[in-house]
């Protein structure tokens, strides 16, 4: 263990940076030597990173370092170089990058501290970082894998044919009487119609008969009053018809005409009838 730790610490020794680089005759004062990117590509490349973990992975992969044995000092140094570049560059340096910088610095300092021999091994300061890097890397890889799956509209195409005509079929809704009654109950409650005495008592057969009479009588000719009564219906039926006639008169839906006292009574519709609406 100690030898390995020493190796790690050995790398910690800050590498001596060479003097400023000369690129095409111009001195490059800001560009660290271990960034393998030309300045004009910087923006593009930084933009391509999906955050600090992605950037760290890039730095590690680039140097063929085993992710389980990251030379923290070296990687931290390179990471900070990028951060410096980003600070000066056009891109906004997000909080995540700064947070990672702090984390790296902390790991680095902990690595430098001599550790007593009895400290448990899981105290490797890099453990959490290594876990996060691997965790991110597997999903980064998964994303790439998903992108290589055959995609509809890109690699595979749905085969289809012309559908037959009349394809929009919608059966009419079904209703049962109970629903209608419930609806009616509600509207009555709303209109407080239950309190209206006359409606409460009105037999529905009168309403029905009113409708029947209205379809029988005409506006332009007279119907014999007695013809509206069907004797076979008996007393109750006759009363219903009479009540219906009275109600129709009250609502000005029919007119009764009697040319002479005790003469025949005729019924004439007071409603305009448009047969085209009926059809």
């Amino acid at each position: 263990m100690s030898t390995e730790l020493q190796e790690v610490i050995a790398i910690e020794t800050p590498p001596v940076l060479p003097p400023f680089a000369m690129v095409q005759g111009a001195p490059l004062t800001q560009m660290p030597r271990d960034l393998y990117i030309p300045p004009d590509a910087l923006e593009v490349i930084l933009d391509a990173f999906e955050g600090p973990l992605d950037l760290l992975l890039y730095l590690i992969k680039r140097q063929n370092i085993d992710i389980l044995d990251i030379p923290i000092a070296q990687v931290t140094h390179q990471y900070m170089d990028y951060i410096e570049l980003m600070k000066d560059g056009p891109l906004e340096l997000t909080a995540e990058y700064l947070l990672m910088a702090a984390m790296l610095a902390e790991i680095k300092s902990r690595m430098l501290l001599p550790r007593p021999p009895d400290v448990a091994e899981e105290d490797d300061p890099r453990a959490e970082l290594v876990r996060r890097l691997q965790e991110y890397e597997r999903y980064k890889q998964a994303a790439e894998d998903i992108d290589t799956l055959p995609q509809l509209g890109r690699d595979v195409f749905h085969a289809g044919v012309q559908a037959p005509d009349g394809r929009l079929q919608r059966p009419p809704p079904t209703v049962n009487l109970y629903e209608i009654l419930l609806a009616f109950k509600e509207v009555l409650a709303r209109a407080e119609m239950f309190s209206h005495h006359h409606i409460q008592r009105e037999p529905l057969s009168v309403r029905e008969r009113m409708a029947q009479i209205l379809t029988l009588v005409q506006a332009d000719s007279y119907t014999d009053f007695t013809a509206l009564f069907n004797m076979e219906e008996g007393r109750r039926g006759l009363v219903v018809t009479l009540l219906a006639l009275l109600e129709l008169i009250k609502e000005s839906l029919i007119e009764l005409v009697q040319n002479e006292p005790f003469g025949p009574i005729h019924v004439k519709s007071a409603v305009a009838r448009f047969t085209e609406v009926l059809s």
């Binding site: 195409f157 749905h158 085969a159 289809g160 044919v161 012309q162 559908a163 037959p164 005509d165 009349g166 394809r167 929009l168 079929q169 919608r170 059966p171 009419p172 809704p173 079904t174 209703v175 049962n176 009487l177 109970y178 629903e179 209608i180 009654l181 419930l182 609806a183 009616f184 109950k185 509600e186 509207v187 009555l188 709303r190 209109a191 119609m193 239950f194 409606i199 409460q200 037999p203 529905l204 057969s205 309403r207 029905e208 009113m210 409708a211 209205l214 379809t215 000005s252 839906l253 519709s269 007071a270 409603v271 305009a272 009838r273 448009f274 609406v277 009926l278």
Partner: protein, 203 residues
């Protein structure tokens, strides 16, 4: 490219296109090295034969070639788009109830009782179901139609006459009493309109 490949490409293109493809369009799929027009024709003929006994057929229409469902299978295929019956709105049911109980009644009178407008759509739907009819027109300005229910309405709801509709008193106690009517379905547990699918078919 052998004839089988050519036929497969044309088959795939026709099925993927979603619209008829003219021979020119088919030729354009091959870029620099298009097959002969006659070869495409032969491939189309071959395809038409391959599908002679199948569920779809290759046909030529105005703008080119396309596959379409054979008419003899249309009755099954159209069921794909058969939507589940929707439900009528509360407004429609209330309108129908008012017409049933208060006929002859004008739209304005229905609106008066309901306190809100009755859409033309509702009246139209009730007409289309043949549940209501125009009995005449009230002789007031605008000559509004007077609505009533139809024989078909009675048949649909299994009523001999309007008399068989529950009385207002019965309706008021709708939740508590067992209405002596063939309502077609046991009343749902709650007083609210049931949202379950109604199995009852139109009569």
């Amino acid at each position: 490219m052998n004839p089988q490949q050519l036929k497969n490409i044309i088959e795939a293109a026709l099925l993927a296109a979603g619209e008829p493809l003219a021979i020119e369009k088919l030729l354009s799929l091959f870029g620099e090295n298009p097959p002969e027009r006659a070869e495409v024709r032969a491939a189309l003929d071959g395809l038409a034969q391959d599908y002679a006994e199948r569920g779809v057929a290759l046909t030529e229409v105005g703008s080119g070639f396309r596959f379409q469902v054979r008419q003899e299978y249309a009755q099954w295929v159209t069921r794909l788009w058969e939507e589940r019956p929707t439900r009528y709105s509360r407004a429609l049911l209330e309108t129908l109830a008012l017409i049933a109980y208060r006929q002859p009644i004008t739209r304005a009178e229905i609106e008066d009782i309901r306190g809100v407008g009755v859409s033309t759509h509702i009246i139209k739907t009730l007409h289309e179901r043949e549940w209501i009819r125009v009995l005449g027109h009230r002789d007031v300005p605008g000559k509004p139609a007077l609505y009533g229910t139809t024989r078909h309405f009675l048949d649909h709801f299994n009523l001999k006459s309007l008399d068989e509709l529950p009385t207002l008193a019965e309706i008021r106690d709708l939740d508590s009493i067992n209405i002596q009517l063939d309502l077609g379905e046991p009343p749902p547990g709650s007083g609210e309109t049931s949202h379950e699918q109604q199995e009852q078919e139109p009569g």
